[in-house]
């Protein structure tokens, strides 16, 4: 974790009110992993007292550039949207724990609902770099909100669902999952809470006959501590969670979700990535 002055090098409105921004931040571009995030300070402290968390959307170690993708929905995100090239912002990161891909996974399924794409986008790069096949299922309200395919690596098989049927499958992205869950060794998702809860229900109980479970166990069925990187690596479904944040370093306990252990889990510290079975999807928080 470091405090870094990051310079805006490019800012584009890629979808209505959705911005893709590139920042020069070499010390974050090295060693940060898909699923982790930065906590970025809006300028005007007298009005905006909290930083805003953004997933790493992509990072490029060669150029030292990290990108973030967000929707301008309030005073803080509007402030970021109005930044000009050359402006500098204060980033705290890398924060949180990354996605854990089992080394034996060949086929990786990414599932994104709307802006949730920002949470899994970088994993596409990592997985392709590691020689895995990647299918991305993406859901949005309508064609106007669909993530542009030219922003994805060519190797990704990109399948779209829209609520109104204006592009791709008509219906929810979760409808598409049944078709691919048999194909996938592991699945990684980010999006609205109801979508993640639906995916967790689909994945629950199927774990033993799906995905990484079929890959055969090394080490004779040793059980890893729940929440450990090793345990997550073996889980079929990992989800990236969102929650309002204060500190983003584990100090304020503002950002919790309920764990199956009955203990609140900090999204900023134990997460934002969790194995789906670490969380209590019925708890209502």
């Amino acid at each position: 974790m470091r405090l870094v002055a990051a310079e805006l090098v490019e800012s584009r409105e890629i979808l209505p009110r959705q911005w893709l921004q590139s920042y020069h931040a070499p010390s974050l571009a090295i060693g940060s992993r898909a699923g982790q995030f930065v906590h970025v300070r809006p300028g005007d402290f007298s009005g905006l007292v909290l930083r805003r968390p953004f997933s790493f959307n992509t990072i490029d170690a060669a150029t030292g550039v990290v990108t973030i993708h967000f929707r301008a929905i309030g005073r803080g995100t509007d402030w970021f949207a109005h930044l000009r090239t050359g402006d500098s912002v204060d980033m705290l990161g890398p924060l949180g724990r990354p996605f854990e891909v089992d080394p034996r996974s060949r086929r990786v399924l990414l599932i994104a609902g709307g802006l949730g794409i920002a949470g899994v986008r970088m994993l596409a790069d990592e997985a392709i770099g590691d020689g895995r096949q990647v299918v991305l299922l993406f859901g949005a309200a309508s064609a106007a909100e669909v993530y542009p395919s030219n922003l994805l690596p060519d190797e990704v098989e990109y399948i779209v669902a829209t609520d109104d049927g204006s592009l791709g499958h008509r219906g929810y992205v979760t409808d598409l999952v049944t078709e691919y869950e048999g194909w996938a060794d592991q699945a990684f998702a980010c999006g609205p809470a109801p979508m993640l809860a639906a995916l967790a229900r689909l994945a629950a109980g199927r774990r033993e006959r799906l995905g990484v479970a079929k890959l055969g166990r090394k080490g004779g069925g040793r059980t890893d501590a729940p929440g450990s990187a090793a345990a997550r690596r073996k889980s079929f479904l990992q989800v990236s969670m969102e929650q309002n944040m204060g500190c983003a370093v584990g100090a304020c306990l503002g950002c919790v979700v309920m764990g199956t252990s009955g203990q609140p889990q900090r999204v900023c510290r134990e997460g934002p990535v969790f194995a789906a079975d670490e969380l209590d999807w019925e708890a209502g928080w």
């Binding site: 974790m1 405090l3 007298s46 007292v49 909290l50 584990g250 304020c252 950002c255 919790v256 009955g262």
Partner: protein, 360 residues
């Protein structure tokens, strides 16, 4: 009563020298062509909040915003802080409130964490050994639902290496009094303070709530009950509404307001309390730059805590310490003591006697 006395009370800003450490103020160099003499060498920023609780400087971090002192370790040199107040600690573990627990508001934020903590025994086991190795004092913030809760937590903290003192968070519902907060009732605030005072020799700070009509009788009761110092303020009660207006935003409906928005309220409370008690006052509320700390000193505080502002700028407390030293040097002071109480009424009796009457 006693206007300005906090400013002249020796206890509030003792400059006693710790043996074995050079704390002598530096020599004063005559200015060329008038103006205050710039001080070369060491400025004394130390402050004694209680017998046995002496801080190297008057800048603390506030309970609930700095965890257990370890979370910001990568980016903050915690050893330089005046002291750390840890997250509210209760007798039994608490899982806290449903989410959302935090939201930004104009120039501030609301939180309703619900005192999530692992309980006093786990706090002692997990964190005290680390604290014991630190030079920076750690003050354990204590919460409870009955006098017995507070007393028992204090007993367990007594004598634990690494625990430098306790700060009572009395903004908690008192189950024995139908859920009425200790902090809004002078008798209850005095009773819980006295009971904890009897149970422990640890330095004892008691934290005021702003959610009362007149804070002065409460502060006096706390002083009378034997508290070493008063800290003020805790958060102001507030709510926010969901963007779709379907219900209040926070899972717990009610939250506590903090940040720059609360500073005028906190400043008023410190100003009022400073005129009725002799024990040291530690100010809390919206401190986000050196000027805020100086304002609090001016109305009688001898130390400040930084809370919400740490989220935006974790290095702020350290920069305020450096800024305070530079300020003293520039003004020719070899300690920060002359900054305390300068805005309090000069004449005893000319205090803010009207303080509360104009308020609704």
């Amino acid at each position: 009563m006693k206007a300005g006395r906090a400013a002249s009370s020796g206890k509030a800003h003792a400059t006693r020298h710790r043996p074995g450490r050079d704390r002598r103020p530096g020599p004063v160099v005559e200015p060329i062509g008038g103006g205050p003499a710039e001080v070369i060498g060491r400025i004394d920023l130390s402050v004694e909040l209680a017998p046995g609780l002496r801080l190297d400087n008057p800048i603390l971090v506030a309970s609930g915003t700095f965890g257990y002192g370890i979370e910001y370790g990568d980016v903050v040199d915690v050893q330089r802080l005046g002291a750390i107040c840890c997250k509210g600690t209760t007798l039994k573990p608490r899982i806290g409130n449903v989410t959302p627990r935090v939201t930004e508001t104009p120039a501030g934020m609301l939180n309703s964490i619900g005192l999530q903590n692992p309980g006093v025994d786990a706090v002692i086991e997990r964190y005290a050994p680390t604290w014991a190795g630190w030079q920076v004092p750690v003050i354990v913030n204590v919460a409870g639902e009955s006098v017995e809760d507070y007393v028992e937590v204090a007993r367990r903290l007594e004598g634990v290496p690494g625990v430098a003192g306790i700060e009572l968070n009395i903004s908690c519902p008192n189950v024995g009094k139908g859920g009425l907060q200790f902090a809004i009732d002078a008798d209850a605030a005095g009773a819980v303070t006295a009971a904890v005072r009897r149970a422990t020799d640890l330095p004892l700070l008691v934290k005021l709530s702003p959610n009362v009509a007149d804070v002065r009788p409460i502060a006096k009761a706390i002083e009378k009950a034997g508290a070493d110092a008063i800290t003020a303020i805790n958060t102001l009660s507030g709510i926010a509404v969901r963007p779709d207006r379907s219900r209040p935003l926070l899972g717990n409906i009610y939250g506590g307001l903090s940040g720059p928005a609360v500073k005028p309220v906190a400043l008023r409370i410190v100003y009022e309390v400073a005129q009725v008690v002799d024990i040291p006052i530690v100010a809390i509320g919206g401190v986000s730059e050196l000027a805020d700390a100086l304002d609090y000193f001016a109305v009688g505080a001898c130390a400040v805590q930084v809370g919400t502002a740490v989220f935006a700028d974790p290095t702020l407390p350290i920069r305020i310490i450096d800024g305070l030293e530079a300020e003293c040097r520039r003004r020719g002071f070899d300690s920060f003591r002359p900054l305390i109480g300068t805005a309090l009424p000069r004449k005893p009796g000319a205090s803010s006697a009207k303080g509360v009457e104009y308020r609704p």
